[in-house]
């Protein structure tokens, strides 16, 4: 029993009697970051820092461990059960060690219609893992995702939440083979890839500290399809006068 729980972590969440650890081994830097996060919220409402703190814990361990839960509970003066209840509610908190690259395939209706399920099935077969499982080498965790808000680029796959658009099963296989070979293919839009731990730090509310990563990525064609059509035909919204008064004249004249 102990061997199992220490290996997977999953069995611990929701079983308060087995929850141990308070993150004593976590580095001082992590504690300082945690204090900084807590300081963003009103001093009598520190619990608001819980979601970012769980992202922070994940940036250190690659998942939310029992130790991480104790760490958050201690900082916010909550019980472990309260923290575990929150951690287990949200899908982005992983309950066992995840791979360096989280590959999410949208299989909601639109992406599925356009081939998303075929992409997932092909990846599952290529990687030899199912939904929410990690390859034995620890590089890739595969998951099916619900709508990723990029239906105009479907079917989409994300790697650590960066988009790869209009992906075919063959594209997807090439993508994960490259990831497992240590390469970092450029996403269709958005920033260059980082690891899931590094991404989790950004999710905790920190700026992307990679030089120029914020500038990465061009606007996608579909995003500006209507705008290009308008511009190409010399169409703009109606002209306006920026000095138009906020309070209209009393007599109702324009």
């Amino acid at each position: 029993m102990m061997t199992d729980t220490s290996r997977t972590g999953r069995a611990l969440i929701g079983m308060p009697t087995l929850l141990t650890g308070t993150g004593e081994s976590f580095p001082q830097e992590l504690r300082e970051a945690a204090e900084e996060i807590i300081g963003r919220y009103p001093s009598d409402r520190t619990r608001s820092a819980l979601l970012p703190l769980l992202h922070l814990v994940q940036s250190h361990e690659g998942y939310v461990s029992a130790d991480g839960i104790g760490f958050c509970a201690g900082l916010l003066n909550l019980t472990r059960a309260e923290v575990a209840a929150v951690a287990s509610f949200y899908t982005m908190y992983k309950r066992e060690p995840a791979g360096d690259f989280l590959v999410s395939v949208c299989t909601n209706t639109m992406c599925d219609s356009l081939g998303g399920q075929a992409v997932f099935d092909e990846l599952s077969s290529e990687l030899g893992v199912g939904n929410d499982e990690t390859t034995p080498d620890g590089t890739v965790t595969l998951e099916h995702a619900e709508c990723l808000a990029a239906c105009d680029y479907g079917p989409v796959v994300t790697v650590n939440y960066e988009f790869f658009d209009k992906v075919t099963p063959a594209d997807a296989v090439e993508l994960v083979r490259a990831l497992r070979a240590g390469e970092r293919p450029a996403p269709s839009r958005g920033a260059r890839l980082c690891t899931l731990k590094e991404m989790s730090r950004q999710l905790a509310g920190y700026a992307d500290d990679r030089p120029d990563a914020v500038a990465d990525g061009l606007v996608g064609d579909a995003t500006v399809a209507g705008l290009r059509l308008a511009q190409g035909n010399g169409i703009t919204a109606p002209e306006f006068d920026p000095t138009t008064p906020i309070v209209p004249p009393k007599d109702g004249a324009s």
Binding site: P42, R45, R47, S48, A49, L51, P52, H55, L76, A85, F89, Y90, T91, M92, Y93, T107, N108, T109, M110, S113, A145, E146, C147, A149, C151, D152, Y153, G154, T158, Y161, F163, G190, A191, Q202, G205, A207, V214, G217, V219, G220, A222, T223, V224, A225, G226, L227, L229, A230, Q231, N233, I235, A237, P238, F240, D241, P242, T244, I246, V247, P248
Partner: protein, 435 residues
């Protein structure tokens, strides 16, 4: 293309998206950025609320509630902190307009946040961004830092007595947090589960204080209205649905994407703007505003896509996320996939939604694996009857929408599975333990 059709394109919120580096503050300032803020801070907050009321702006997040009225509900001189919370938890299936706005024009949102906070007398604003939206959050955090450095955020903004802090708060993967009271619970560090209303957020919102929760597109509409006036805004759209709207087209059309048009445009016109249907595809069914809005069919191609027009056709304008399906797509399977989504995303707080979606998924699996009975159709409608209006929030109603509408328009497709004319789409192995 017909000039009168092209004239329905009204790029206002999308107009900067194509500019290289529009996400940088200097580009934004060059393209009218922060001009509205200077104008707004010279006015009285109540005048801004009146302006937004006069513009007729309605919420862009799905419900279409009048924005100025929402701001006006905030009690003043109550000695409580007020909060502005931006709902940037975009996740309604089919919806994809807020993420590009925040990624390519983040300062438009931030300028709107500052003006709206000034109007409702808030000194603290939060932007709750969907966790998965890492690109949008990265650009937003950068923009917030730029705005602080330029004196648009922080203490005594532009030398006025008004001060404002903004925190960009990433969620962690839960569709339900797009529901405003679930979002507030999540922002307070709890599971994202909806609250019973009343009391409403206007009086008891974040930390039980007066709070306005507005969608990204709603807040980003504020600077252009302040700059150009209510009459200009109303020159686009219809009498009760004013302004431009970003229509998100996906599916079986030649050029999917974002089309910002005058409200009241029709699907026929939008499909034409998007280059027509893909070869070999004919329009069969579509969602006017995400999967939580009842499906419409080819018969509804000329319905005006504004709040009243879509309601009159028996659906909801929602988030104007038009998912377009053809005769090659299966309305029964499509509904099943949506239901799987609602089952997964049900927060579990209330029984009708938690149990109802679970059982409806099983019933669909039975139908799609060729084991369905005629009674299953009655069971589905009966389950919907027990969900609609009986759940804490709109998620339950949303789940019932595709079920009831697909059964209304495509009952024959269901019967074809049940009576064996359509081969099973799912393996009956899924049914082990299901009945």
């Amino acid at each position: 293309m017909r000039p009168e059709l092209l004239a329905k394109l009204t790029p206002v919120l999308t107009r900067r998206w194509i500019e290289p580096d529009a996400w940088r503050i200097d580009t934004y300032e060059r393209l009218d950025g922060y001009r509205a803020l200077r104008k707004a801070l010279a006015a009285h907050p109540d005048e801004l609320i009146a302006l937004i009321k006069e513009s007729g702006l309605r919420g862009r997040g799905g419900a279409g509630f009048p924005t100025g009225m929402k701001w006006g509900f905030i009690p003043q001189n109550d000695n409580k902190p007020h909060y502005l919370v931006v709902n940037a938890d975009e996740g309604e299936p089919g919806t994809c307009k807020d993420l590009p706005l925040m990624t390519h024009d983040p300062h438009a949102l931030i300028e709107g946040v500052i003006i709206a906070s000034y109007a409702i007398r808030a000194a603290q604003a939060f932007i709750y961004v969907r966790g998965e939206a890492v690109n949008a959050a990265r650009r937003l955090r950068n923009a917030v830092a730029e705005a602080y450095a330029a004196g648009y955020l922080g203490k005594n903004i532009l030398g006025k007595s008004f001060s404002l802090d903004v925190v960009v708060h990433s969620g962690a993967g839960a569709y339900i947090c797009g529901e405003e009271t679930a979002l507030l619970d999540s922002l307070e560090g709890f599971r994202g589960q909806p609250r019973l209303r009343p009391p409403f957020p206007a009086t008891h919102g974040l930390y039980a204080c007066p709070t306005v929760v507005n969608n990204v597109g709603t807040i980003a509409s504020v600077p252009p209205i302040v700059l150009a006036g209510a009459a200009w805004w109303k020159s686009m759209g219809t009498e009760k649905s004013s302004g431009p709207m970003i229509y998100s087209l996906s599916g079986r059309i030649v050029n999917p994407g974002q089309y910002e048009c005058t409200m009241g445009i029709t699907l026929r016109e939008l499909i034409e703007l998007a280059g027509g249907m893909q070869p070999g595809h004919e329009l069969s069914f579509w969602t006017p505003g995400g999967s939580s809005t009842p499906l419409l069919t080819a018969d509804h191609i000329d319905v005006p896509l504004d709040f009243e027009g879509v309601a009159a056709a028996g659906s909801i304008l929602g988030t104007t996320a038009l998912q377009i399906f053809s005769q090659r797509d299966d309305p029964v399977y499509a509904t099943y996939r949506w239901l799987k989504f609602y089952e997964h995303e049900s927060c579990g707080k209330c029984t009708p939604c938690r149990e109802g979606n679970n059982w409806m998924v099983r019933t669909y699996q039975r139908i799609l694996s060729g084991q369905g009975t005629h009674e299953d159709l009655d069971t589905l409608l009966d389950t919907c009857d027990n969900i609609v209006g009986r759940a804490f929030c709109g998620l339950g109603d949303g789940a019932a929408a595709p079920v009831m509408s697909s059964m209304k328009f495509f009952k024959q497709d269901y019967l074809d599975y049940i009576e064996g004319r359509t081969p099973p789409r799912l393996s009956d192995k899924l049914l082990v333990g299901a009945h």
